[in-house]
């Protein structure tokens, strides 16, 4: 990664330019980005998806949304909102349920909304895919339809966590529960590319999530991965603990397997939700506190809004040949709009070519050190 090495000593936090990365430039400036959105994915679909899509096109000039789902459902919801004709609709009649085995369901249901959306991306009719339905279904649809980037053994779900010290990239948040040291190395490379593009960090520091700060901590997977990561041309800072993720400041990219990653991500989500609710209940306990809460409310809203998934959109499926953003199943319209926004930005930032280049450049080197 010579382009990055050359700027190793540069200020870590500055916006990366295309010339730094030396990768395929994005589309022409001002070009419209078309985002295919899975109409039936998510607990609050289809209403929340339609509302989020309308929010997105209202707020994001240059972004076009294509709803993928039953045409009559989409048209009825758009008409009820006085938005007939504002969004393009592409027909798809099947849905992959949260309780279905994703790979088999996507394989069987060729007309599933998420699969048709992926097909639009593959065929060039859309630039990105957004789903707030089953992560496994989105993963399977992306893999089967778009294929994987060279060097990507298994895609990872990468989320940007708003840590106290600043945002960081965390992956895998749950796409692939079984990992190998080699996969964790791939995640590191893809995560570095994402941190460069999304966070503007020239040389992101990579940390390996484990159970202690000292080297050698953790199970066999973590110990082998640490050796591999140290051999890669990334700024590997060693082990990070779970508490380092919400606090931040130790690493810009935190890598782990999808099982552990999902446990931590859901744990953080639950903790934030619990603290917020407890805080609100405490404020509401007495008249005096309610009065005080009026004063404190802006500060509380600032913190909780900062941590809300509504604000930063969903996770990226890294390693597939296309921009795929997966949101929370309980996504609100605001969260859906955020997912659409980050997907469109990723297209403009040429995220997938950058990741493809990072993986391809390092494929041979990685192969020599992988067990």
């Amino acid at each position: 990664m010579p382009g990055v090495r050359a700027v190793r000593q540069a200020h870590r936090h500055r916006r990366l330019t295309l010339s730094d990365a030396g990768t395929t430039p994005p589309g022409p400036p001002g070009a419209v980005v078309r985002v295919a959105v899975d109409l039936l994915g998510g607990d609050r679909a289809p209403e929340s998806v339609v509302d989020g899509a309308l929010l997105a096109v209202g707020e994001q000039p240059g972004t076009r949304v294509i709803l993928v789902g039953p045409v009559e459902v989409a048209q009825r919801l758009l008409a009820a909102r006085g938005a007939t004709g504002r969004l393009e609709v592409v027909a798809a009649t099947q849905v992959v349920g949260m309780d279905e085995e994703p790979a088999r369901a996507v394989r069987t249901k060729r007309d599933a909304t998420v699969r048709v959306a992926a097909r639009l991306v593959r065929d060039g009719a859309a630039d990105a895919l957004v789903s707030v339905g089953s992560t496994g279904a989105a993963l399977a649809a992306a893999l089967f339809t778009l294929g994987r980037l060279r060097g990507a053994g298994r895609p990872a779900l990468a989320v940007v966590i708003q840590a106290k010290a600043g945002p960081l990239v965390f992956l895998d948040a749950g796409a692939s529960v079984d990992a190998t040291p080699d996969l964790l190395a791939q995640y590191a490379l893809a995560g570095v590319a994402l941190a460069q593009v999304r966070l503007g960090i020239v040389r992101p520091r990579v940390g390996l999530l484990t159970i202690g700060e000292e080297s050698g901590k953790g199970d066999l997977l973590r110990r082998q991965a640490a050796v591999l990561l140290a051999a890669l041309p990334v700024d590997f800072v060693g082990s990070v603990e779970g508490r380092d993720v919400p606090h931040g400041g130790v690493a810009d990219v935190v890598v782990t397997d999808g099982f552990t990653g999902n446990v931590l991500a859901k744990g953080l989500e639950g903790a934030v939700s619990m603290v917020t609710e407890a805080l609100l209940a405490a404020f509401d306990a007495t008249p005096a506190r309610r009065a005080a809460a009026l004063v404190l409310q802006p500060a509380v809203a600032e913190v909780t809004g900062h941590l809300s998934p509504d604000a930063f959109g969903g996770g990226f499926l890294l390693g597939v040949r296309g921009v795929c953003v997966v949101g929370h199943g309980d996504a609100s319209p605001r969260a859906v709009a955020s997912c659409i926004g980050v997907a469109a930005e990723a297209v403009r930032d040429a995220l997938v070519p950058r990741i493809g280049e990072a993986l391809a450049q390092l494929l041979d080197e990685r192969a020599t050190v992988a067990p």
Binding site: A103, R107, T108, G147, R150, G151, R154, D178
Partner: protein, 85 residues
């Protein structure tokens, strides 16, 4: 279409999904033990093979999921596909 031609398609699908040399894939190669293909990779391979064979196969050509469950070797996959062509 001959079994050898189907084998070539399966070899290429394995190479694409698993990033291996297609020539290392033979009729005797086992998906799990030799290629370390997990269930998702196996479905990916089948999807690629189906897509490649679709223009040459009767309408509705599809490898059933039930058949996938018992699939062990590349040779079995080739036989399964050839039987439906």
């Amino acid at each position: 279409m001959t079994a050898a031609q189907v084998l070539a398609i399966v070899q290429q699908a394995c190479a694409t999904v698993l990033e291996i040399d297609p020539q290392t894939v033979t009729l005797q190669t086992r998906f799990v033990e030799d290629l370390r293909a997990d269930s998702l990779a196996l479905v990916e391979i089948v999807e690629i093979v189906e897509e490649a064979l679709a223009p040459l196969a009767p309408a509705g050509f599809h490898i059933d999921d039930e058949d996938l469950d018992g699939l062990t070797t590349v040779g079995e996959a080739v036989d399964l596909a050839v039987a439906q062509l």
